[in-house]
């Protein structure tokens, strides 16, 4: 019988994102150089929300894009072909500080693929990583710059995120 716990509810998600927004603003002094790029599917609404939060902090619009990483994955011939989501990067990333945004950081392989995919669009000056949940079990030397919540998990546990367009949502931990 799977047992489900709520790790973050809507209020907690909002609080975590607001904090991450302020951390990004603290870390990056030149606000005009910062762009956000969400990784589908979970990272896309998060990036949009972080974009809103940062725009308010900096009193200027922060560009937000979407980057599909499926063509750059290293396990393409080991699982059924992934669904490809649109990539929308309506700005030049060259010379910018790109903050990649994802929902859950796990093995780190998605982030590696994202960094490769991002290279096809230009040469960012810096790449930073913001995630809502870090659940551990890294398989690559990758670390997040901004973390909403660290959640130590067992490998067989599952973390799922339900996030509506308006930002309402929750993060669930499922035990088998």
């Amino acid at each position: 019988m799977p047992e489900t716990t709520v790790i973050l509810d809507a209020v907690a998600i909002q609080r975590a994102l607001t904090r991450i927004g302020h951390e990004i603003a603290e870390r990056n002094e030149v606000s005009a150089d910062v762009v956000l790029v969400g990784i589908p599917t979970g990272g896309v609404p998060l990036a949009r929300q972080l974009g809103n939060i940062l725009s308010e902090i900096w009193k200027q619009p922060v560009p937000v894009g979407t980057l599909d990483v499926s063509m750059h994955r290293d396990d393409l011939d080991q699982r059924a072909a992934p669904k490809i989501h649109p990539t929308i990067i309506p700005f030049d990333v060259t010379g910018k500080t790109v903050v990649l945004v994802d929902d859950v950081l796990f093995s780190g392989r998605t982030i590696r693929a994202a960094m490769d995919a991002l290279n096809d669009f230009g040469r960012p000056r810096k790449i930073q990583l913001a995630v809502l949940v870090d659940r551990g079990h890294r398989e690559l030397p990758i670390k997040a710059d901004f973390v909403g919540k660290n959640v130590p998990t067992a490998l067989e546990e599952k973390i799922s995120l339900r996030l509506a367009e308006n930002g309402e949502g929750e993060v669930l931990l499922e035990r088998k």
Binding site: S70, M71, D75, L76, Q78, A80, K83, D120
Partner: protein
């Protein structure tokens, strides 16, 4: 719904959902073609053999470029410079290529069923790039992709395929794909080339060209396949053009939003007026662009393994 097929042999055995997966995936690859860096590493380290035992320019180049843009390694193989001339059988040739660890074989052959045969004797992924008069699946997929992109949907559209249906693998694949996706397909051409038996495939057959194109949303023209016809199927090219060629007068009697397609190579002045081939309603070059995206999508999907869909 996920893609679990190892080969792309025909459209007949695909479901509407599977066709839609290919079209959705192709949309993403079309976007890749518009980037500064048009290459992605999805097929890095994989070897693709393009085994073209029947001449082809468009399809071969399209496959080749699709493979290159997916970072695959490519071997091109054509009849002229091969051991077929020395009497080696297709099975032996293919087995030899597989012994070199080819992962994909893209086959074009004048005999129907060749790709199915290869898929039974080889471990590699087999893609049908046209087999005799049987099927040309990637052409049908790119046609469906083009129609869906231009019209926003396929279900409920009137699609008229005009020309040499009997000897056309494109027609067969198109009929399967479009009817599965809910289009109403009408076939038209000389009665010798468009027999009534095609009604069994779920489409309408007529020999009155004006009636066939009057309500069409899409008019798909096909070339006369002289190389496949064993006898003269109609009196003369001139008469064919007069009776079935798409000219300005005929086009004026179609719906103003009807679009014109042709798999190529076009014979200007035979099945299509030169001016019409170049007009704004013609999708002929768009089809070529989309063909590349569709072939990338097919290779990408077939490359997937058996594991779960879930990609975190």
């Amino acid at each position: 719904m996920t893609w679990h097929r190892k080969h792309l042999l025909d459209i007949e055995s695909l479901t509407a959902d599977e066709i839609t997966i290919v079209l959705d995936t192709a949309r993403a690859f079309k976007a890749v073609g518009k980037r500064t860096i048009k290459k992605v590493p999805a097929l890095r380290g994989k070897t693709v053999v393009n085994l073209f035992v029947e001449p082809s320019t468009r399809t071969r180049i399209s496959f080749e470029l699709a493979e290159q843009r997916l970072s695959a390694d490519i071997i091109n193989f054509s009849t002229e410079a091969s051991s077929f001339k020395k009497g080696e059988t297709l099975k032996d040739t293919a087995r030899n290529l597989e012994a070199l660890n080819a992962d994909f074989i893209v086959i074009r052959h004048s005999a129907s069923g060749t790709p199915h045969f290869l898929s039974r004797v080889l471990g590699a992924h087999v893609i049908n790039a046209g087999d005799g008069a049987h099927e040309h699946p990637t052409q049908a997929l790119l046609d469906a992709f083009t129609i869906r992109e231009k019209k926003g949907k396929i279900a409920g559209l009137n699609v008229t395929i005009l020309g040499d249906i009997l000897y056309s693998r494109v027609a067969r694949s198109d009929i399967w794909a479009l009817t599965k996706l809910g289009a109403k397909v009408t076939l038209c051409g000389p009665s010798t080339l468009v027999p009534k038996t095609f009604e069994q495939m779920g489409c309408r057959v007529t020999h009155d060209v004006d009636e066939a194109i009057r309500d069409a949303d899409i008019i798909n023209l096909l070339r006369i396949q002289h190389e496949r016809q064993r006898k003269t199927m109609f009196p003369s090219i001139g008469e064919y053009t007069q009776l079935f060629g798409l000219n300005k007068a005929r086009l004026a009697r179609t719906r103003p939003d009807a679009l014109i397609m042709h798999p190529g190579p076009i014979n200007r002045g035979v099945e299509i007026d030169s001016e019409i081939a170049d007009c704004a309603r013609s999708l002929i070059l768009e089809q070529v662009t989309n063909g590349l995206a569709v072939r990338m999508a097919v290779l990408f999907l077939l490359n997937g393994g058996k594991g779960p869909q879930e990609v975190a």
